[in-house]
Assembly symmetry: C2
């Protein structure tokens, strides 16, 4: 991991270890020794371990959210132009597909997605809020879209289902598409592409279910 500056290398290492070992189970020493940086450089560049986590999150989540927001807005404005409600499928794809493309874009991005998925079920509020704050506008936009797509369903039911969706997606995200159990007694798992198709179908049917 040497061909980049220290600050970036620390971000990369922290991203990897926070995702794979957990935030509280990762020491700054483990990060710096992984990427060949000095322990003191973490505090020089970031100030504290908490601030390092914040930086890890913001580096990737801000641009990713911009893409997702743009795609969702595109679906909404197109629907308005056509004078038809947006489809749930289009909204779902606008939310999920950029995440997946992003996840495939680099090994670090994959760890990052895993970290995000995991952090939504983080009990420590300090850690969890890092994410929630950045995701809230997107969440709100998606809810608005769902209300337009499924006007016959009450808003608070859609809100609950949107949270179910977040649960489903974040779980797939944090397992990184890997199977739960690796056991010969189970059927062989789907390839990634098919799994995503199935995820879309599962979530789509769930969101659209009758009240």
């Amino acid at each position: 991991m040497p061909p980049s500056d220290t600050k970036t290398r620390i971000l990369d290492g922290a991203e990897r270890l926070f995702a794979r070992e957990g935030f509280h189970n990762t020491s700054l020493r483990a990060i710096t020794s992984l990427v060949g940086a000095n322990l003191a450089s973490v505090n020089y560049h970031f100030g504290s371990k908490d601030a390092l986590l914040q930086a890890v999150i913001e580096r990737r989540l801000l641009p990713l959210n911009q893409i997702r927001e743009a795609k969702i807005k595109e679906v909404l404005t197109r629907a308005r132009e056509d004078n038809t409600p947006p489809t749930v499928e289009a909204l779902l794809r606008a939310f999920i597909e950029p995440t997946l493309e992003f996840s495939d874009s680099s090994p670090g991005a994959r760890d990052f997605i895993s970290l995000v998925g995991r952090s939504l079920s983080e009990p420590d509020e300090t850690v969890r809020n890092c994410f929630l704050v950045l995701i809230f506008p997107l969440f709100q936009l998606l809810l608005k879209g769902l209300c337009e797509a499924l006007p016959h369903l009450p808003q608070n039911i859609l809100l609950a289902r949107l949270q179910f969706l977040m649960g489903t997606v974040s779980y797939v995200m944090c397992t990184g598409g890997r199977s739960f159990f690796s056991n010969t007694e189970l059927p062989s798992p789907l390839d990634q592409k098919t799994q995503i198709q199935q995820l879309l179908k599962y979530a789509l049917a769930g969101l659209e279910a009758a009240e």
Copy 2:
């Protein structure tokens, strides 16, 4: 928390803090001082912090899984007697409803369910495997039931959907039914009973979706 023996008090305290603060973020001192026990008593009764986690899990998960297994088996044998496939809904209820009843049975049980939900997305294998080992037989049984209920769907697709289900349920479990965001810009959340109904509908539709 005094009216019980030390061992039980430690289990109660560990359950609460592991669920609310995370395993790696909870010290044995925090547990013993919460329940008024001596630090050394943890190692006397359990041997190590890892073993304490194991004990916390087994205390509740073994009996809970027995109930869930019995209910699923009941659905399967009844279907076999009637010479009809089991319904997905019956299987889903057999899996989810005992969990909820259990969760409502005591405050500690609620923390425990939250801990289980969270631990499924635990990156640390040592911690995660504690749960997976105990859940595997139930998971296998449920998969078998789904194969009978939805024979037109390939087994590996059902396996994937079952994992989506685990994601959905564990997420609801670990948030304890509480809402994601507490924000006045969002519609007011559902009461718990309605939320469970919606969870069932969401998961049912997802599992039964066309291939």
